[in-house]
Amino acid sequence: MAATDGQQFPPPKVLTYPASAPPLLVTQGAEGRLYKTTHLAPNRPCALKYRPPKPYRHPILDARLTKARISSEAKVLERCWREGVPVPAVYAMDPAAGWMMMEWIEGIPARVGINKLLGDRREEEEEEDAEAPLPETCETLLADLMRRIGAAIGALHKTGVVHGDLTTSNMMLRPRRRGYGNGSGADGDGDDAEVLKGDVVLIDFGLATQSMSDEDRAVDLYVLERAFASTHPRAERLFATVLEAYKETFKKASSVLVKLEDVRMRGRKRSMLG
């Protein structure tokens, strides 16, 4: 399947030039693709984000949009990085050709880590179990992760950036120690726990904007709250911990949290009407 895909949508020209290892297609989304490849040296992995031309759009408009989006994502990443918000560094880019190379973040998306810990169940089962208490160690680990997620979002909002697509898929858990994977517990549970202790790194700033508005910030939190409820129903209660840590990291959080109430209310009304 990958091979036919590759023929239907050729990779960007930059990936057709030789490298020590072939590029790996990680995800293929509606807007673009993400490859794992290398920057300058074989031991320097990078993520290459590529937005291919859209045949249904006027070519001049399409080129302009692609360029603007890649540039905007890179600019936000630089701004965040300078301010110390944990995001990948930008390595190289060609906005006109629709690609950007950034630091490869080791580890796994938070979504995967959380679900591993909670056990991979089908959704119906999840709902039945949603009320069942989690084992205490599990609870502590998750609460601690929620705090780190809240702190990362607080730091992000402090710099005047809203993410626009906050989900647990757009957060990586980067193993903390250099040369991780050495000598962690042999049993699977220990490894799952170890993974959750990783540093939270925010990714996917394709929809990010610069904004200082409480409303925009509240919507950011609301989107994550909804995503959380549907992806991790067993851990939904723990979302309050995200907000707690957010409040501790970000001075102006209180007015955002007031706005969040409004946003939730509107969300509820909308779902009742719809």
């Binding site: 030039y17 290398t38 630089e78 990085w81 301010e83 560094a89 930008v90 190289a92």
Partner: protein, 202 residues
């Protein structure tokens, strides 16, 4: 031979990239004059080593310039001048030459880059060796200085950090100020410099 052939990821085989490092250069004025008069025998990127952080930093500029060359979007006369302007974080070309290029009576330590097209070579390997030898013969005759291995350690000896911090706007950056360890701070500074180059002019 102190001319290193670089093997960078995602560079088409139609180009060979060579680099060398000379310490205590005594004829910067002469070399600068050759560039100024567009002497075609001096198609090199001459880079003042005091504004270079590391190999990675240098390679990022080379990679960027070769990409621009492949796209057919050179904004300067050739790929060598493009390497120099790729080290800048804005689009001011004159500034880039002044900051990263060779400066008469100032440049003491010199990094040299040469990009050679190999596209019409019949037997690539033998042509490559000849070219590499020819390039080195010319360079070692023309540059009066001490050939030095282009390693991170050697480069670190000549980096003028106050200057680099100014060029890459590294002063008062929260992400750097909170790093205590000097070695880590340099690694982070290098990252930020490369990021600034990648985003040049945005």
């Amino acid at each position: 031979m102190a001319l290193e052939r670089l093997d960078l990821e995602h560079i088409p085989p139609s180009y060979q990239i060579y680099t060398a490092f000379f310490r205590d250069v005594s004829n910067a004025d002469f070399l600068y004059a050759q560039l100024l008069s567009r002497n075609s025998e001096f198609e090199y990127a001459f880079i003042d080593a005091s504004s270079v952080i590391s190999r990675l930093h240098l390679f990022s500029a080379i990679y960027s310039a070769v990409n621009v060359l492949l796209d057919g979007n050179l904004r300067t006369p050739n790929v060598h001048s493009e390497i120099v302007v790729s080290l800048n974080i804005n689009n001011n070309i004159a500034d880039a030459y002044r900051r990263w290029g060779i400066t008469p009576s100032k440049t003491k330590d010199l990094v040299v880059v040469k990009v050679v097209p190999t596209s019409n070579a019949q037997d690539e390997s033998s042509t490559t060796i000849q070219t590499q030898q020819a390039v080195w013969e010319h360079l070692s005759q023309q540059v009066q200085g001490t050939p030095t291995p282009l390693t991170d350690d050697e480069l670190a000896k000549t980096t003028d950090w106050p200057k680099v911090r100014k060029y890459y706007r590294l002063n008062g950056v929260p992400a750097l100020d909170r790093v205590a360890d000097e070695q880590d701070k340099r690694k982070q500074s290098e990252k930020l410099a490369i990021m600034g180059m990648a985003l040049r002019g945005l």
